[in-house]
Amino acid sequence: MVRLNVLELEKSEYTGGKSSLCPGCGHDQISNNIIQAAWENGIQPEKIAKMSGIGCSSKTPAYFLGKSHGFNTVHGRMPSVTTGANMVNKDLSFLAVSGDGDTASIGIGQFIHAIRRNLDMVYIVENNGVYGLTKGQYSATVEKGSKKKKGSVNQQAPIDLCAMAINLGCSFVARSFSGSKKQLTALMRAAMSHRGMAFIDIISPCVTFANNDESYRSYNYVKANDEVLHILDYIPHFSPLEEVEVPEGEFREVNLFDGSTLRLETVAADHDYTDAVSALSAIHKSEKAGSHVTGLLYYDDDVPTATDTLGLSETPLVDLSEDLLRPSEDSLEKVNAGFRS
């Protein structure tokens, strides 16, 4: 028997075209994860808009959610296109994929300003520390001391996109690893249930250019240096008990916008995801230790979204009829008259 989700759709309704990435690329795992999360969450595929920039990562929207419209834009400028689309259709669920080159270099400005506006979207960076599609140059997120397959050790300090997002007050900030299926699915589902900017920085090894052990973003390195903040369970609003056991140890619960819950089971020391400074501290510490801290780093459900502050019509603007978009003839007469007096 085929499994169906809450909308009674098969998972195949959420898949996409055949991937043309290198076999084993972390990005393909993430695509699978997106398919899984969207299906499990029971999102209507036609209400999703897939957005991306340029890069191996940014190609992936062709490989998932074939029933959704999407836009593979230009390098680093996906956020602005998403902003425009969000303005005229705030009911779309924006699911965006970018790369570390796409976001941390050419696109860092748009990334920052999308966060500042708290654009209502899921923003995924498939972060491999290199420019995959242009053949493996270091990106700005690669750690000092990391070394890719060919070339010398990277000497420059990294830009930590999570730290940047937290510092800017991003409402949902998480880090995960393409190889951590369970953690990633929970975070992905939670991100999809969030309203506002949900940023997930996903370490995603580039098997062709940087999967050697001296690369801090290789499978082996990440597996050995993954500093997990908590064990995560996602409890959907439509089925609160779905397969989730109450943990034995301590736990906290994040109530998400759509009524779903993300349950965080304390691992070692408790992490306070509501406190920006403590989240930043965790990141700075792990950077020094050469490890990758993963989990829900920061969460704030009290930030208005980009469209909230604008006082727009309840109806998405794209659905307004002509009489609401074009003021009446009378009104123009009034305008003219006002100038005449």
Binding site: M87, H113, P327
Partner: protein, 594 residues
């Protein structure tokens, strides 16, 4: 001596940030109130306060709006330019000056009329003395020219709408100025104004505000913008009008406004809005267009509607940010790398600013491409007459958008980029609709929107794009042609040059030429432009730039046999065009080629 009625030029030299703009507009509006054809050009500097500013008022029963050849009345207020302003005057000029500046006025060949404006102003209000001093020259000018007190009163009220205190204070200053002049100046001015019958419907408005209103009536649903002179007032005017004109019943706005982080983002937002089915626009000036170039290619190739207004200032680079030019035209036409071509619409009057404001969206959605509106600082930021804007004469054209499964099913062999109608324009579906989703992209794609590097697919797609934009020619605003029987000389021009063309025309006719004119209002060029050239013995392409940009386009595109008849006259120095400069250049060229 007979008086010279309604035919003179006033030049007011002040520093910006001193409130002089109010004084100048009061002079302008008071004469306008009297029904006198008048125009004003503000030459302001690129800073906020303290630098030289000139305001040129042209009064002309002939309807000439360009700055004239000479200044007849010079108002001197600014010490920084005092000496240079004085030096440049023709003998006989009437000089009204602020005595308190305490600089020499060594022009015995001029009429020198001093007034202690600052002192008098300080007496009324010590704190606001500097601002109010400027009202004294309003009084002085009113006296010299005989401007109606009533008209002045109306203009002051309009200027300080609702601020009674300010109205009173400024009126007092103007009256005192007038009285002082009456009492102390024995000079009888040879220039005067005379009321004309005023079209009660007419008013003055800046081109940018007209475009703003046009856009609002065009159903703009997303405005993204990044401040830049001289386009900021366009965006700010939209923002100003939205609450009144574009609220839904429940107080929600039907247009989103985003101050973008830069021009690249502003363009991206327009793209996103257009893709999602909205009517997105932005406005900027040359530097912004340069920054948007990459996105403009994406509009073209992925076929997304959007509107970008370029309010041209003087380039290259940062250039003269507060001066006017038509220097971006050729860039707009072919912006971005690779083979591209864009629609450009070019209003020449404030009425057209309004009209093209709304039509821009119809064109963009009809042709599924980025439409440039081309305006310049002169038309955009100075005030021009209209007798009121006309309501759009047809419903919005939303172009080929499929909104239901039935519609989709009725198209045999549908594909996002398949030319089923033979006009080069394919049908599109919108995100959220669930209808035939594709992943839009800036990379090569086949007729179904699927990624493709196939040579034939690419070649055909590019040929269709060419056909599509080419097909727009006859649908875009046709040229405005004023044609003489005798087809001796045709002058092709565009945009704000409309305000100078009548005077140029008259100057040329004075020298015995018979001149037809053809105002181009869109690129790609309408076939009537070519016909116009064909009908005339010689044609001049007249423009406000260095390189003759429209001329270049015409040379590239027009049939070979027409080329020898077409000549370029291009000049730009940042100033609003002076008729004499261009008519002299035209005569020069005609001499050379004949």
């Amino acid at each position: 001596m007979g008086k010279i009625v309604n035919d003179f030029v006033i030049n007011v030299a002040t520093a910006n940030g001193t409130g002089s703009q109010s004084s100048n507009l009061i002079i302008l509006h008071s004469m306008f109130e009297m029904g006198i054809p008048v125009s004003g050009k503000n030459l302001f500097p690129s800073n906020i306060s303290g630098l030289p500013t000139w305001f040129i008022i042209r009064v002309s029963d002939e309807g000439y709006q360009a700055p004239g050849d000479y200044t007849n009345i010079q108002v001197l207020m600014n010490k920084d330019t005092w000496m240079k302003d004085l030096e440049g005057l023709e003998p006989g000029t009437i000089v009204v000056y602020n005595e308190d500046v305490k600089l020499p006025v060594d022009r015995d060949d001029c009429v020198l009329l001093g007034m202690p404006m600052t002192k008098m102003a300080r007496k009324i209000n010590p704190k606001l003395g500097r601002l109010i001093a400027n009202m004294y020259y309003v009084g002085a000018v009113a006296h010299l020219l005989g401007i109606d007190e009533d008209a002045i009163g109306k203009a002051v009220k309009a200027q300080f709408k609702g601020k009674e205190k300010a109205v009173e204070l400024n009126m007092q200053a103007i009256s005192e100025g007038r009285s002082f002049a009456e009492e102390n100046w024995e000079f009888e001015c040879q220039f005067c104004v005379e009321s004309r019958e005023k079209n009660p419907d007419s008013f003055l408005i800046e081109g940018n505000e007209a475009i703003a209103l046009g856009s609002i009536y065009g159903g703009v649903s997303m405005l993204s913008w990044y401040p830049i002179t001289p386009s900021s007032s366009l965006a700010e005017s939209i923002i100003g009008w939205l609450p009144e004109l574009r609220s839904d019943g429940d107080g929600g706005s039907t247009c989103a406004v985003i101050q973008a982080e830069d021009e690249l983002a502003a363009a991206g937002m327009v793209l996103g809005a257009g893709w999602a089915g909205g009517r997105g626009m932005t406005c900027t000036s040359g530097p912004g267009i340069s920054l948007m170039s990459e996105f403009i290619g994406l509009f073209y190739f992925s076929e997304v509607p959007g509107v970008i207004w370029d309010v041209n200032r003087v380039g290259p680079s940062t250039g003269l940010p507060t001066r006017t030019q038509q220097g971006d035209l050729s860039m707009l036409y072919e912006a971005s790398h690779g083979d591209t071509q864009h629609i450009v619409i070019i209003p020449g009057t404030v009425d057209e600013c309004f009209e093209f404001g709304w039509r821009a969206f119809d064109y963009a959605e009809r042709f599924q491409t980025m439409v440039f509106g081309f305006n310049d600082l002169d038309l955009g930021m100075n005030r021009w007459v209209t007798s009121g804007f006309n309501y759009p004469d047809k419903p919005m054209d939303r172009g080929k958008v499929i909104r239901s499964q039935e519609e989709l099913d009725s198209i045999a062999n549908y594909g996002r980029y398949r030319d089923v109608d033979g006009d080069g324009i394919a049908y599109r579906t919108l995100p959220g609709s669930g209808l035939d989703p594709i992943l839009y992209r800036g990379t090569g794609h086949d007729e179904d929107g699927v990624y493709s590097e196939d040579p034939q697919v690419y070649h055909e797609a590019m040929a269709r794009l060419k056909r599509k934009i080419d097909g727009a020619r006859e649908h875009l605003p046709e040229p405005v042609i004023r044609e003489e029987e005798n087809k001796e000389l045709g002058v092709i021009f565009y945009g704000s040059m409309e305000n100078t063309i009548v005077e140029i025309d008259d100057m040329l006719e004075e020298s015995g030429l018979s001149v037809s004119t053809c105002r181009v209002r869109a690129l790609p060029l309408h076939s009537e432009v070519e016909n116009f050239v064909r009908r005339h013995e010689r044609t001049i392409v007249l423009e406000i730039n260095r390189d003759g940009q429209l001329f270049g386009i015409i040379r590239k595109e027009f049939p070979v046999d027409l080329i020898p008849k077409i000549h370029s006259v291009a000049h730009s120095d940042g100033m609003p065009p002076r008729a004499r400069v261009y008519s002299d250049m035209i005569l020069e060229v005609l001499k050379e080629v004949s």
